[in-house]
Amino acid sequence: MDADTRAMLAGSVRALLQSQPADLAAGLAELGWDEVVADYGATAIELLFTEQGKAGVASAALDGVLIAASGGLNPSAARQSLVVHPFGSLASSVGSGRLCVDGVVLGEPTVAGSYVVAADNCAAVYAVPTTSVAPAEPIAGFDPSSSLSRVRFDIAIDDAREHERGWEFAIAAARRALACELIGNGRAMLDIAVEHVGQRHQFGRPIGANQTPRHRLADAYVQLSAARELVQIAYVSDRPWDATVAKTYAGYAVDTTSRACLQVCGAMGLTSEHPLGGYVKRFRTLDALYGSWQQTMRAVGEQLLLARVIPRGVGV
């Protein structure tokens, strides 16, 4: 994708996201997004999620990424599916002939369709009719604007339909998209904080002329830049391992960024009228989806200690 096309598409996506459409998927369809994805693949996904992160808005676009990457559903069935995402320590598992589901769905669960659930991360994937289990409970919680709902049920495994394979790659695609959204979110926070410390004066000089805020924001910039490089690697290699690494590092980088930005924006950054708080809340949601950075960082360490060898890096 050349720079002009990218700028043009980013502008359209930004305008769409800022209008806060009730149905983002419909809005994207109107933009001809399916064709953009067909032409540009991963670059289009990266662009959409980065812009969504920068705009600080929530959508159910992630479900589309997972379902498209798994390649197992026809388009009409895909539209009626809601993916149950692992969130923080909420996860789904199979044992003693039962499927125990606990996770979140994105957006309003109004569709009479199926829940798509990956148990034990991706050992098996199931489809369960939404009408056959307890209704999803809308969540307000730390980040009400993400409009999550919690889905919890426990059914006999025979009542679930085993679904397509390839879900490991679907989760990798989700992690790459989430990493992009995290980076967009972090860049937006950093822009807000840079603007703030340049404008606000104390002791007769801008807050941003003091070494500590300058260095903290520079540190955030460094980590966000590295996160961007890791996402590129993850798209090039297409390996689930690299997707996990990219999402983990992005969460770590945006955590550093949110701490630094909250500190340098002072009391104003903690108020409801300041834009920073909304991004901080959204960051927590994005980080928790498919495991927080602290959880997956530990998992990365465990896997390395088990393998006793560093996976070969992508060629320069």
Binding site: G198, R214, S225, I233, G301
Partner: protein, 396 residues
């Protein structure tokens, strides 16, 4: 596939072919090179091991990829050479010290003094000559433009150099120094500097190794007392040394950072192989290793982008401060993880391997100090990338 994609694809295939052949050559020579896997016992043995491995790398032609033919290379892109170093390190070999200096100084010497490079580089690439880089002085560390070592030009055009350099890596054992000196007045700051290539075995040179906290003597102070330096030893223009230094610094951020990344990856791999089988069950160890790997992966991703940009002759500018900061974070996270996981051995072990871990741990501390301290890099990013208000603005 368009034309540039086709070129990239063919270049990648060629790189893969060279890298595979290199791995095979390492396997074939494993008996001949086996003793180089053992940690060297002191700085003299370290230099001998470095020279021996470099001679082998030159003989096989491996280290000649990407250097211009005029200086003893095969031409082509330098990225394949960088990747060879990573393969070498992950097989457990120490990347030769000689190469760290050559990869930083060599491109700048080749560009700004082609005749000198044609004369000096082949023997350096064969491991017969060790170079070092003389920038820092007692009163000029982070503030490099304050340096005072003077070169006075005589009527015949030749120079006489007097002054002192400090913190020079390999300074007590090197044969040549790439030296930044003042040819203008002290007030001329960065405008009155000149880069030159100086023999360290001539008259008027005195060297004192500096023992580091870990015990190794790998850096030195070097004193120059009326040392004659011929006019043709100047790299670039007289009074044009700052431009050469800034050009050279890009390679310090690109090639050098990549090589340190490769060495750091080999430390992490050695840690994984030294750890007890059940170490993964210990959450503290898993977190430390996970963090170390993430920092390393971030550094690798970033430096591979920088290497590509350098080999395409792009000017990377203040963005290289990002690379430098990621380098020190990765080195320190990996060596801290080693200390956390292998704690007792590293603390009380007297095996050469334990001593090597200690040396590496100390070296990782230097990583956020040399070549522009962490604080300098943060300030460059704050000023030149984020455009934050300058620290000097509005008071203090």
């Amino acid at each position: 596939m368009n034309r540039s994609d086709q070129d990239t694809y063919e270049a990648d295939l060629e790189s893969d072919r060279i890298l595979d052949a290199f791995e095979d050559a390492l396997t074939m020579s494993s008996d001949q090179l086996k003793h180089l896997l053992r940690p060297s016992v002191d700085a003299d043995e370290q230099k001998a091991f470095s020279a021996e491995l470099l001679a082998w790398l030159y003989e096989g032609g491996w280290v000649r990829w990407g250097w211009p033919e005029e200086v003893g290379g095969f031409g082509g892109s330098a990225t394949v050479r960088a990747q060879l170093y990573e393969r070498l390190a992950l097989r457990g070999y120490v990347i030769p010290d000689h190469l760290y200096v050559l990869e930083v100084c060599g491109p700048a010497v080749a560009r700004h003094a082609p005749d000198l490079a044609a004369e000096a580089m082949p023997s350096a690439l064969r491991g017969e000559q060790l170079w070092c880089q003389g920038f820092s002085e007692p009163e000029a560390g982070s503030d490099l433009a304050a340096l005072r070592t003077k070169a006075v030009q005589g009527a015949d055009g030749n120079f006489v150099v007097s002054g002192q350099k400090i913190w020079t890596s390999y300074g007590s054992r090197a044969d040549k120094i790439v030296l930044l000196v003042r040819t203008g007045t002290a007030e001329s700051r960065h405008r009155g500097l000149t880069m030159m290539f100086v023999d360290l075995d001539g008259p008027g040179i005195e060297r004192r190794p500096i023992a580091m906290a870990g015990g190794r003597e790998e850096i030195a102070e070097i004193f120059f007392d009326d040392v004659p330096v011929a006019r043709d030893r100047v790299i670039g223009e007289v009074d044009g040394g700052w431009a050469v230094a800034m050009d050279l610094l890009q390679y310090e951020r690109g090639n050098y950072a990549w090589m340190r990344m490769a060495a750091t990856a080999s430390h992490l791999q050695e840690l994984l192989q030294s750890a007890d089988a059940d170490t993964g069950d210990d959450p503290l160890a898993a977190v430390a290793v996970g963090r170390a790997y993430l920092s390393l992966a971030a550094l690798r991703a970033r430096t591979s982008s920088t290497l590509r940009r350098l080999s395409a002759d792009e000017v990377v500018g203040p963005q290289t401060s990002v690379d430098k900061l990621l380098l020190s974070a990765a080195e320190q996270d990996v060596l801290d993880a080693s200390l956390a996981v292998l704690d007792t051995d590293i603390l009380i072990g007297d095996d050469p391997h334990d001593a090597r871990w200690r040396d590496e741990w100390w070296y990782s501390r230097a990583s956020s100090v040399y070549g522009g301290a962490r604080e300098i890099q943060h300030s460059i990013i704050a000023d030149r990338i984020l455009s934050l208000p300058k620290e000097s603005s509005g008071g203090r």
